[in-house]
Symmetry: D2
Subunit: 415 residues, 4 copies
């Protein structure tokens, strides 16, 4: 993680920990033991694995090194629930996570409680390393928040393979809306600073804060909507190679892409599968579940481009005005209100290190640095992103062909 | 199915039905909801699917056509739980069966009960088609018995991917045994008759009974043992292409085969994973979990060959002397006692129609005929085969690279 | 090879050798150095490789062991031009044969002459092993004849990938024909003998001659024609899973098969690519370039079946009445005259050993035996089969999905 | 292409054209017709295709639109020899280029002459559009120079599959050298300008020239040598996941990478295959044929990093001091003299558009822009790069797993 200007107080860390763990439990509550097993592709993991892996993280990086009396309920969990930390030892094959029927859901919940109790004890004790522990707990909580969003999107992907189209949370009526005009904000040329400034938590890859030079541009005040995306589709956008990166068009042809993921057409209406079951596509909501390749092609079709991550960061120095929240709201963007925060926005920037970046030593240094190739940065946050996690310097990253996250786009233009 | 000389009495059919259904339930009883989801390869299916599919079979082929008042708990189950019967309508993708978390285990058990109740009612009624129904119930029971064996072998395969090596049934000590000598029985040249003779149940592909001409041969009185197989391994059998079919050796190299499936070596002892957990390989038990390619190479190495299915059928006109049974015994062959029935035995015969074979009309005609290419016949039966299913005319068939069934071999030689 | 009743006289062997080698040269004469490089799939080999491999065969199995003074132009050719004889040493990767630009066409032709000269000298010498040598030369010539047919069919496949549709031999007008009626010949039940009887050359797998029992059947007097095949297509035969083996239909769907290989439709007429360039499909000629899967589905659609190889062998105990010959005729079956010999005919028989078959010791024993799995026997011969090679006991074999050989079918029916 | 400050004089364009075409012919001269067919992977193309495609470029973009009387020797060449220009019409499958035996080498050479003659006539004529034509000819020549380097590297890859390790150009003795010390040049923080300035030819993606901000760094004065690379290998660099991008290590494991492409070890000495045949690895020459993944891992192992493309461009504002040239020198980097230009140097920069970049309209706009995803920029030039093509603003780009180009690396460090 990035150095913080002021360390998190241990008592605040404990509150964050309790709030975060409770949210994971709440998200998993409606799931049957069978639902918790679903792994529909290598990129996605079962909900049960998310519950266990986020727990292992606290065990591996805090309890084991700092509490010599700590006893794990099963030492073999370290093998099962390590994701990719080479320096934390060997680990189970990623694409086989859906084949781990045991430990079952109950055993994993017991594992969670076991670690939570031990950690609460550790944090209540008077220790010289209390600040360090608080910092690690904060990291673990942010790590778990990332997995909360993955849990939700992986679950959506998993359930979407069920021909019965299951409902995770009861549907609610969508508000009637009308088309939202597209307006632009201009930005002058000049040297700017981007990257996290040390106030509050951030991941290592959000820093160092540094200067970069921007040429004049303007950026849209809202993401692209479903209504606009359908216009692209109806104009033959998917089939016209001129709009596309060559590799993107090859993927689109091979995969038969003709609309965003989870969409289908029925009697002239576009429908989409959501965690609230099938719903008609809300025309004035941000489009979601499109790949970088599609986003980039759309932008060229619209005679615009995607913003770079620096342009995006400079443009949104304020808090998100998000239409809804993971904790109690609907699980797809709502129409008509999004400023930023409803949908992750693909940028034109590959995920590379900022000048001066060095990954920390040890296993925790494997957090972000080793992914810095072939992935594109998304900025913003989505209706499945915990509010605690949303900040303008946040860089998430995915492969350009991936669509199962809450991914959309916003346009920019040179001036 | 083959025509029977005498139809099964409806009351016997009901008893068979109850016995068969109860055995499935008993096999599934130790499984958690998560265990029931496991699908570790396209060839294998989740236990939950087996429970539902065998139920759908009765619903689709008996209740729907013959009981107009029958109402299914969910009409969409026909799509989810049809395996491959094209004439019974469209069906779910086979390799996605592990992604159906809903209906859950409880719902599937309720589906079983629902169909069982309706079928018991139907069979208790006085009807003109009672004999026909009894015949279909008999077929459905044999179909379910096939799935019992698959349930067990698919489960073994699924659990074997769990690094914790879970235990399905508690282990018991293995008897101490010594090497069993290999003896041979000679058979003269001549015209023989093979195929089912109509006494009792048989599948369509077991007939018509017909003449075939055999040249003189001798056949071993017991299957090849683990002790013998290890000698083949230690003699470099896996690496010496001269023993192998070219295609077989290519598969062995590509897959890195150097021993039967589920084996590993630890401190000079060979171990194997079983449904009773890890166990040392029992040297004098029949070898199991070897492919046709391996079996065929072993036979050539041993200066022998595999028997044809006619040679096998003629040699074993008696009941199996099986070391153990699915219902209450261990789930791997026991050492020292096997005559036939402990392990499926690969034959030299590709699965082709007998002279005069014609698949029945309609969806039930898809039972065996459409698989008659590229597969090899196995004869006998295994410790996971229900005793009701064992008869000398039974032909099971698998692809030559498959190993996850209880597959072994017996030698034969030209005279 | 099979034991012959009377050995081939050395002088006859020399004549056969000269005739065979000259035919290969004649076939290759129209090819440019670039044409000789084409390898369009792993199953096929470049013409240059065929020229070299058939030469290596004489070098490896006759000259090296029997002529101590023999010097090869390049010892490394043994690595490059061994096909699959494990006991003759390591060999080049089959799918990379098209990447061997050197030695070039001229060098390979020089290699041919070098070996031919040495062999002519050896055969002219007075030696104790003259009869053995004559027998090996005979085998080498038959081996080369097999490769002549492959050279032609591999070349057709290779050139078919060229959008310019090149012409290997000038086209000639097709005779106008009319529909040929389909008649049947009946055969009684009974014990028959099949397999080669030792009069003349045969491969090892054609024996031992042995008894087999046939049930009554009838067999068509000519192969299925293009006209009949088009009726199958127009009746939706390719799309109706009920006619197909399950595996066959999966292949047909995956590959998008809707007609024989090399066909396309243009203005309501079916065309086919041949070595004489594009030609309209001759309606009354035997259909060619269909897989076993397609042939088997056609037969079921026609309410018939494919004959077994024993049925086929018994039915054709006479010489072929072939419409045309490799040496000077057209390179596709001609309409209206075929009895047998115009097109290879898929049988219902998997390629398995005859009773009592044992592969010979040594590398030459790898000729046929190690292919005895997953392949189907074809009987007859085609317009690309040298006349010297055609006999009723001949068994060729290919995988059920393969279509690039001159493969057709003939119907049979149970009586 | 980028706008030039001063257009190229038509007479200079003609000289460039003649020089460029002659170089291609000289490179192809030692090749047999068979060599010219080699396509060893989809990324590579046959030499014959390069000869034809570079000719088609002049025909398609100059002769057809500007010379109404022009007649192509074969209009179908447009289909065969278009590479990827969607707006220039449909085209042949890239991975099937090695299957086009006709037109043969002679016909392609005749095509070259035909187009050269027509273009020379066009350029000699007095025309209003002479300057435009000169600009297009210049672009076509630079395009052909790119293909000269590809021809050489594709040929090396193709010939490397031949077990005889053919020699394209006679070997010459390697100079004896000693270790070259590694020195560094420091660069201050500050705003810089990069991108082509319009003086002379450049591709579209080299502009617009623009400002960017650099943090302080130092950069090595020479590329990494084979001696240093061997130290990395001997230190277990390939096997230690800590040095690697996660994706890079997965590729290395899957492909079994343990050294640069074309290397093997023999009696403690490392050898490499080159177009001059097998040669011992020259310890003090730049390492070549390493992927981005390997280069990036090496840099981390060496406690350094790769430079960004801006850092590289600023550091080398001078002409290359290249050890050797395509036209008459050896075809691998020479030891001991390289400053820049002997080997392409992987940078840390993904290939993305410069601020303000817009691809030109029409088919020529497909030149670079549509490749701007998932590829990394290399800077410099290699011993296979024509001298006319070397400039500090030049951006070439390849996928991070590719190794068959003359790819090496240079280190940089933060200050």
């Amino acid at each position: 993680m990035q150095p913080r200007l002021a360390p998190l107080a241990p008592s605040d860390a404990l509150l964050l920990f309790e709030r975060t763990r409770a949210r994971t439990d709440r998200l998993a509550a409606p799931l049957s033991p069978e639902d918790m097993m679903l792994q529909s592709m290598e990129d996605a993991s079962p909900a049960k694995w998310h519950l266990a892996h986020t727990t292992w993280f606290f065990e591996e990086f805090i309890l084991r090194p700092r509490l010599p009396t700590y006893v794990s309920p099963d030492d073999r969990f370290a093998f099962l629930f390590n994701s990719y930390y080479v320096q934390a030892g060997p680990r189970h094959a990623r694409d086989k996570r859906g084949l781990v029927s045991r430990p079952g859901g109950e055993a994993v919940r017991a594992y969670r409680t076991h670690v939570e109790d031990a950690l609460a004890d550790l944090m209540s004790a008077s220790r010289d390393d209390a600040d360090e522990i608080a910092g690690l707990v904060e990291l673990g909580c942010h790590h778990e928040m990332q997995h909360q969003e993955l849990l939700v999107t992986d679950l959506l992907h998993g359930l979407s393979h069920n021909p019965l189209l299951p409902v995770y949370r009861e549907p609610e009526p969508l508000p009637v809306t009308s088309e939202v005009p597209l307006t632009w904000t201009k930005h002058d040329e000049g040297l700017v600073e981007i990257g996290h400034d040390g106030g509050g938590f951030a991941y290592d890859c959000e820093g160092p804060r540094h200067r970069t030079y921007l040429t004049p541009y303007e950026i849209a005040d809202r993401p692209v909507t479903n209504r606009e995306w359908i216009a692209f589709m109806e104009d033959g956008g998917y089939g016209d190679a001129r709009h596309w990166l060559m590799e993107g068009h090859a993927v689109a042809l091979r995969e038969g892409w003709a609309h965003p993921l989870y969409w289908w057409q029925q009697d002239d209406t576009w429908w989409t599968y959501t965690l609230r079951g099938p719903q008609p596509v809300a025309l004035d909501a941000p489009v979601v579940h499109v790949s970088y390749y599609e986003a980039e092609a759309y932008a060229r079709w619209a005679d615009a481009r995607l913003p770079t991550e620096a342009e995006h960061e400079i443009a949104f120095e304020t808090d998100p005005i998000q239409g809804n929240f993971l904790d109690d709201g609907p699980l797809r963007p709502l129409p008509g209100r999004a400023i930023w925060g409803d949908v992750w926005e693909w940028t034109a920037s590959p995920f590379t290190p900022y000048p001066g970046f060095r990954a920390p030593e040890g296993a925790l240094g494997e957090y972000n640095g080793k992914f810095m190739v072939n992935q594109m940065v998304l900025r913003g946050g989505s209706c499945a992103t915990p509010r605690d996690q949303m900040r303008t310097s946040y860089r998430t990253f995915f492969y350009p062909h991936q669509r199962w996250q809450m991914m959309g786009l916003r346009l920019a233009r040179d001036l």
